[in-house]
């Protein structure tokens, strides 16, 4: 018996548009264990958010199709769920926070009202019929506002989203996402819109709250530095494919995939900053309409061989707990 909370198996997502089919995700495999934080890293447009939306069942219909794969949550395949059943899962079992905390809050309602709504839903699903303005809901709202570190919760409750700073709004979002003590939280670049000092505070807050409520987290980011601070394991994505997966320590100490190596090499180092030279990966992420055949990274890869342009490598275990999709590590 595994203690996996979420198992994504062989998941592919295709977008069908007038211009043709786009393969947004190709045979993704990822497992998130109990109380584990997985960092999902990759450049813009590589399918990180698509994966999160697929788990939530919120892919844009009718354009998005899922030709293969399964998403298993608590032993059930979420892909077979109806919209009604998904509604019951969202918010209480799986929740999500977004990059833009301002636009994620309804501008017409106070912070307190919006938190109350979430907490009311949580209590209703637990079988308690409460009104959103009941004392019980209010106590819990205030409690959560304190837990996410909002000063003076009594008066903050009466405020509107535009009166809050980015960091405060993200705290509100975190409170909303964790109030129901979900098994899994998806965090889609929650710190990217914040300045660096606020980022650190928010990361610490997420880390401590998540361990308190024993939730697992899929933490999406393009910033390796952020992921290094919060994740237990890291999965690296490139052009809709999972290219490497290992513990956070392994990824930074012993990156195997040339893409991961290149990502880490483009981290600014002191001597480079002095010479005002920044290392970057040549070329850019392929458009998902024109993913190169074979290994999608081969046109930009300095180790590319002939076979790379014809055969797509599979994600294989290289050492225990460290999986990589690259022919360089094929033992056969």
């Amino acid at each position: 018996m595994t203690n996996a909370v979420l198992e994504v198996h062989d998941l592919s997502v295709v977008f069908e548009t007038f211009e043709g089919r786009y393969n947004a995700l190709n045979n993704i495999n990822v497992t998130i264990n109990q109380s584990e934080v997985i960092g999902l890293v990759g450049e813009s447009g590589c399918g990180k958010s698509t994966l999160a939306l697929a788990v939530m069942g919120l892919l844009p219909r009718p354009h998005a199709k899922i030709p293969s794969g399964s998403i298993t949550f608590k032993g059930k395949n979420l892909l077979s769920f109806t919209e009604k059943e998904m509604e019951q899962i969202r918010g209480t079992d799986i929740s999500m926070i977004f990059q833009e905390p301002l636009t994620s809050l309804d501008p017409l309602f106070t912070i307190g009202d919006q938190l109350s709504e979430t907490i009311q839903i949580k209590l209703q699903r637990a079988g308690e019929n409460v009104r959103w303005n009941s004392g019980k809901v209010k106590t819990e709202v205030l409690n959560w506002m304190k837990r996410v570190g909002l000063a003076d919760p009594e008066s903050a409750m009466e405020r509107y989203p535009h009166e809050f700073s980015g960091g405060m709004r993200q705290r509100v979002m975190i409170a909303m996402a964790l109030a129901a003590e979900p098994r899994l939280m998806l965090a889609d670049e929650p710190t990217s819109a914040l300045d660096v000092t606020t980022q650190v505070q928010i990361l610490r807050l997420v880390k401590s709250l998540v361990s308190q409520v024993k939730a697992s987290v899929l933490f999406i980011s393009h910033d390796l530095a952020v992921v290094a601070q919060i994740a237990d394991r890291v999965a690296v994505m490139y052009a809709g494919m999972m290219v490497e997966e290992a513990s956070v320590h392994e990824i930074f100490e012993n990156p195997l995939h040339p893409y991961t190596q290149a990502l880490l090499a483009s981290f600014p180092k002191e001597e480079e900053v002095k010479k005002s030279k920044l290392v970057s990966i040549p070329g850019s992420v392929p458009n998902i309409a024109h993913i190169p055949p074979g290994c999608p990274f081969h046109p930009r890869c300095s180790f590319a061989k002939d076979i790379c342009s014809t055969t797509r490598p599979e994600l294989r275990e290289n050492s225990p707990g460290h999986r990589v999709a690259c022919v360089l590590y094929d033992k056969s």
Partner: protein, 290 residues
């Protein structure tokens, strides 16, 4: 969960409304119209100097004077009294048409836009059918079929009136449903119905409110048109459109009999247009030149 506009907001809106002379005219005329309508419903004929239906051939065709502010008609009835007494009929017709249209249109449009897909297609093709036929023609046809009467004027106009609101609400819902707070509401597990009710409708309401205010003038205008055509209020009941029609035969020897009720309709319709304009300026921060 009520929507509350704070005091600062209200004072900004009031400042803007006050700055524009035309909108003051609009507010004043609209206010007089509404107050008069309510007063007539409470006090009835006691409010006016003469009995509006009392025929008195001795004073027929009197030009406007201090005795009879708006003159008298071919049967010697006081036109001022008749205009005042007719106010609530037009007010009720105008407001009913708009309020019911807003309700039907906003609910249908918001659901249609938010749910999308086949539901949206179906609703929008239905509204297309109603929009394709000119509202007035549709209203006249329905009114003829239903027969004369004030309630029938409301019903006849409603048939062609709600689709505009459905379109307006749908457009708002379409852009709102892509916004991230709706996405956030979905991931919070809030049901579709509740999202529409609590997050789409309230955020959608201000353009609809502005349009509705502009529209009350139109609705009153259309109501008088139907009455003018003999499909609305029946004599001897006073009604503005009807009075214009009755007086047009005497345009040469008593211009005031139809021109003055016509001017009253014009003033009220204009007032609501100006008021709606002013409200739009006040609600839309882009027009605030503070």
């Amino acid at each position: 969960m009520g929507i509350s506009i704070d005091r600062r907001e209200i004072s900004i809106i009031l400042t803007i409304l006050r700055r524009d002379r035309l909108s003051i005219f609009g507010i004043a005329v609209a206010a007089v119209f509404i107050v008069t309508s309510i007063a007539v419903r409470i006090f009835g004929n006691g409010l006016v100097p003469y009995d509006p239906t009392q025929v008195n051939m001795m004073v027929a065709f009197q030009a406007p004077s201090f005795q009879h502010f708006f003159g008298t008609d071919n049967l010697g009835r006081d036109i001022f009294s008749r205009c005042v007494i007719a106010a609530p009929i037009d007010a009720e017709i105008g407001f009913s048409i708009v309020v019911i249209s807003v309700l039907i249109g906003t609910i249908l449009g918001s659901c249609s836009g938010y749910i999308g897909g086949k539901v949206d297609e179906t609703f929008m093709r239905i509204t297309d059918v109603f929009i394709a036929v000119p509202t007035l023609v549709l209203a006249v046809v329905v009114a003829v079929a239903l027969g004369p009467g004030v309630e029938h004027v409301i019903e006849a106009n409603l048939v062609g009136w709600w689709p505009v609101y459905a379109r307006l609400a749908r457009a708002g819902a379409l852009s709102l449903k892509e916004s991230q707070f709706i996405e956030a509401a979905k991931v919070a597990g809030i049901s579709r119905f509740r999202i529409i009710l609590k997050h789409i409708l309230p955020n959608n309401i201000s353009p609809i409110l502005v349009y509705a205010t502009l529209d009350i003038g139109n609705a009153i205008l259309y109501a008088s048109v139907l009455s003018y055509l003999g499909l609305g209020a029946q004599p001897p009941q006073a009604e503005w459109g009807r009075m214009v029609y009755d007086g047009q035969v005497y345009l040469v020897n008593g211009w005031w009999i139809s021109i003055i009720p016509g001017l009253v309709i014009f003033a009220v319709a204009l007032a609501f247009n100006l008021l709606g304009d002013a409200l739009r300026d006040a609600f839309d921060p882009r027009y605030r030149k503070l």
